[in-house]
Symmetry: C2
Subunit: 193 residues, 2 copies
């Protein structure tokens, strides 16, 4: 995608406002309940503009759900602190960008969102785990297990709102969960003596 003329168009501000409103609505209501009309109202523009810029609702979601986990370079992290670094990073990322919540909510009912979620966690997390040098044969499995605990943490804390998970201080969660990720990443494969 080489934009020949990356000169800022006047419509860029509108596009950005739409995406911001879309992320908010998708995060709060999920894919089905988030309506183009409501998103347009939030962005103070006409609903037809959304269609013009993004084609249809799926196109809008695809644009709004673009996401980079911004995983730190795990190769530079002391091996014993991988779990701690990862939990802390994910907690920050969840609370700082609602795109992840939008993806999580939408993935429950929308196949496209689920596919996006698979891609993000398989590609980005998988690559990060691979890069610090585990046995290639177990990399995918380890990354999947890490994803299961991370997404479960997010689901119970931000989506379902399970009281003990909502009330917990981030530091407490890090302390409890870090050893789990640490073992999934660097622990022995169960059944292998």
């Amino acid at each position: 995608m080489t934009d020949a003329a990356p000169r800022a168009r006047r419509s860029d501000a509108t596009r950005a406002a739409i995406l911001r409103a879309a992320r908010e609505r998708f995060a709060a209501d999920g894919y089905d309940r988030a309506t183009i009309r409501a998103i347009a109202a939030d962005a103070n523009i006409d609903p037809s503009m959304v269609m013009r810029y993004y084609g249809n609702k799926e196109g809008l979601f695809a644009a709004a759900a673009e996401f980079d986990l911004r995983l730190p370079e795990l190769a530079g992290v002391p091996t014993g602190r991988l779990g701690e670094v990862l939990v802390r990073h994910f907690l920050d990322r969840w609370e700082g960008d609602e795109t992840l919540a939008a993806l999580l909510r939408a993935a429950s009912t929308n196949p496209g969102a689920a596919e996006r979620m698979r891609a993000i966690f398989a590609d980005q997390l998988g690559a990060a785990v691979a890069r610090f040098g585990t046995d290639p044969a177990t990399t995918a499995r380890r990354a999947g297990l890490v994803a299961s605990q991370i997404l479960g943490l997010a689901f119970t804390r931000y989506i379902v709102g399970l009281p003990p998970m909502v009330d917990a201080e981030p530091a407490e969660l890090v302390a409890w969960v870090a050893p789990t990720l640490q073992r999934y990443l660097t622990g022995p494969v169960p059944g292998t003596p």
Copy 2:
């Protein structure tokens, strides 16, 4: 609930068929996309019957999402095998009853479903954890952490369909995840020497 005349009504079969179809649809499509019309069609009855029996869509979901985790009595389990017993039980429960998947999908977008999920995991799992004798001050937190890993496992395996989690044999998942639950249940509180 003392039914004075628990004599079987002729409509009971219809009610049961509706609930069965509702659980299937809610599990497959989530709350919003699962329509009363489709549920009625699956159950081979008229959509208006659903309304007659359950009032409205929320009432139908509330009836269909009634759920018992059927947790085993943890007090009778060897302390060291608590994690293993729990993961195995939950995996069986997920695959044997789609009500849990319906709840998980619906909880992402429907507040009533999220409340139901909170109740199930706080009450049933919380009670089970309390009954085998942890420090009452940490019981809720331990139960919440267990829920986070269990729900994350279910979310990645049954909802998002993350390949490494879908491909894994149940026994492998048990072996990997059991130590996590074991530590959440019986491990020391982090930061407490």
